[in-house]
Assembly symmetry: C2
Homo-oligomer: 330 residues x 2
């Protein structure tokens, strides 16, 4: 487990808003490009500086992502925004590199059953694909960072339990194949605090700080509790989606990605700096409901409201215990 942070700079936490990719690809309706660009601008205006904005997948498979180039192009115009795309194969990587995306997530299911169901390829074949993507990046001369996105790292609805040893193995293999870092994804919302603890303990022991990010779903209400555990292991990068969109297809009505608003509220309340204005982020939810009327949004803080004295309270808590102490406590 890494040391708790101290000093100002290290109290920053990176929240990557992934709704344009992981949220919209789970929704049958296709959001217009204009609405996606408004989403980008609005969320950026709330202070978000890292977004996963599209998948480079064949439009016949995922028509929701057919405008990936246009969305990436606009995202790259927003100063200081780190632009991430998801890429499942070499062809997608070529498009992402040509577009100039800053970061590429290459997914790799730790569950063999999920890998077959999701991409019709084995885990091992996906390691080869990741190697190919990394080689393309190297040959391109582009500085894009490649993230091995380890899906189903905390359990799989198809396979059941996913052994921690498998997570360690595929994290190591993703890095050996050329990924700069790996992220652990709770694709099906099965992570629990003790499982996150045991998994991060093992993976960080094996690969250290190159496992630096997590992607939690809130399907079973555990995302924020799991976040506390991840913080304690030194993780400082978290995915979340506006309005918590991105439902799990295996649990109708259940939420998927943790709502960015809830995550930001909790992190800021701990004295950790996300750079994001939670009230503006809550307002940004209207981008989704305006463009996709009737779509279910999730998250508690938007419903219950930000306490009127939120900022003052955060400052007080930070004064009392300090972010480092708060981290130590979680």
């Amino acid at each position: 487990m890494s040391a708790t942070p101290s000093g100002t700079a290290e109290q920053a936490v990176l929240v990557t808003e992934v709704g344009l990719r992981d949220g919209l690809q789970s929704i049958a309706r296709t959001m217009s490009t204009a609405a996606k660009l408004q989403w980008l601008d609005t969320v950026y205006g709330a202070g978000v500086r890292s977004m996963e904005v599209a998948s480079y997948v064949p439009p016949r498979l995922l028509p929701q992502m057919a405008d990936a180039d246009a969305v990436v192009e606009r995202a790259l115009q927003l100063p200081g925004l780190t632009v991430t795309v998801l890429v499942p194969n070499a062809k997608g990587a070529e498009r992402a590199l040509a577009a100039g995306a800053h970061r590429i997530v290459a997914p790799l299911s730790v569950s063999e059953a999920h890998s077959q169901a999701n991409v019709r390829r084995s885990r091992d074949a996906m390691v080869d694909t990741l190697r190919e993507i990394c080689a393309l990046r190297d040959a391109s001369g582009k500085p894009a960072r490649i993230i091995g996105g380890l899906s189903t790292a905390f359990g799989c609805t198809l396979q059941g339990e996913v052994p921690i040893a498998d997570v360690v193995e595929y994290a190591s293999r993703a890095l050996q194949a050329g990924a700069d870092t790996v992220a652990l994804a709770d694709t099906t919302g099965l992570a629990t605090p003790a499982l996150v603890d045991a998994t991060l303990q093992a993976v960080r022991a094996a690969v250290g700080e190159r496992c630096n990010a997590v992607h939690f779903h809130d399907t079973r209400g555990m995302a924020l509790a799991n976040t506390l555990v991840a913080l304690r292991h030194g993780i400082r990068e978290f995915d979340a989606s506006l309005g918590g969109i991105g439902g799990c297809p295996h649990a109708p009505g259940a939420s998927g990605n943790v709502a960015a608003e809830d995550l930001v509220f909790m992190l800021e309340s701990m004295g950790l700096s996300t750079g994001i204005d939670v009230r503006a982020l809550i307002d940004a939810r209207s981008v989704i409901t305006d463009a996709l009327p009737g779509e279910s949004l999730f998250g508690s803080i938007a419903r219950a409201g930000v306490p009127s004295y939120y900022r003052a309270a955060c400052a007080d808590v930070a004064n009392i215990s300090g972010a480092a102490a708060a981290m130590e406590s979680v």
Copy 2:
């Protein structure tokens, strides 16, 4: 901060199901006595061995609790069930003692504004009431334990911030007045992990293990994260309500008490023993929906489902990291 537990016996956590009291008193409709008795039996059947079952308040103020005697009588017939009631004044205490309740919660708002709004009396007057209740208990010769229930211990929607120094002061005064223990209640769902950390740090430093319980609301989705922090401070007693009923009147549609099903799922997944079968508890929700059709229930695990391999996974995690290690991590 108290030591983390080790050994089998100390890995037990007490979940007190408070829906019959804190849940039903927030709902305008009155549940029939027959349905309440079914609730008792069903939740008991799921393994719950601690329940807060009624308030002894004037029926004209809270008609939902007019049958408190009948409910307490039945609850006391269930072998091994610890029966708790809420009592705001001496008259209620006399009824509770006559009925033979095992535990009496005497509420005491840390926020002066909440105290005035809720019971039209000052905090200091409520300390006097608590002293009176304790004297009645002592004079009765009954073994009932008295819990000072510190409302708005983590913030107040009327007053705003509640200083931690006030929580420490009123915890100490409640104990000096004769309470056996004190519980900290997040009455308005304003607690956050760092605030829970700082508050428990201060209160436990002042009164030690006599502050042994928390009552978290999930209004802003923080209840489970806050629970992890409380566990780390050595707290082993948690309130929760079936179906998460008990909404906050200040946030329509927002949930109140953390759903007992979610809390039990998380605790058991950490290898902590609650004695409660989470699947049976989920089934028990139908007691509420049958008796109060259309009533909103809350909680994630009932909606998303318990993973099929839940038990095995829990055992695995317990083997890998042990409950003590899991606790250390949160």
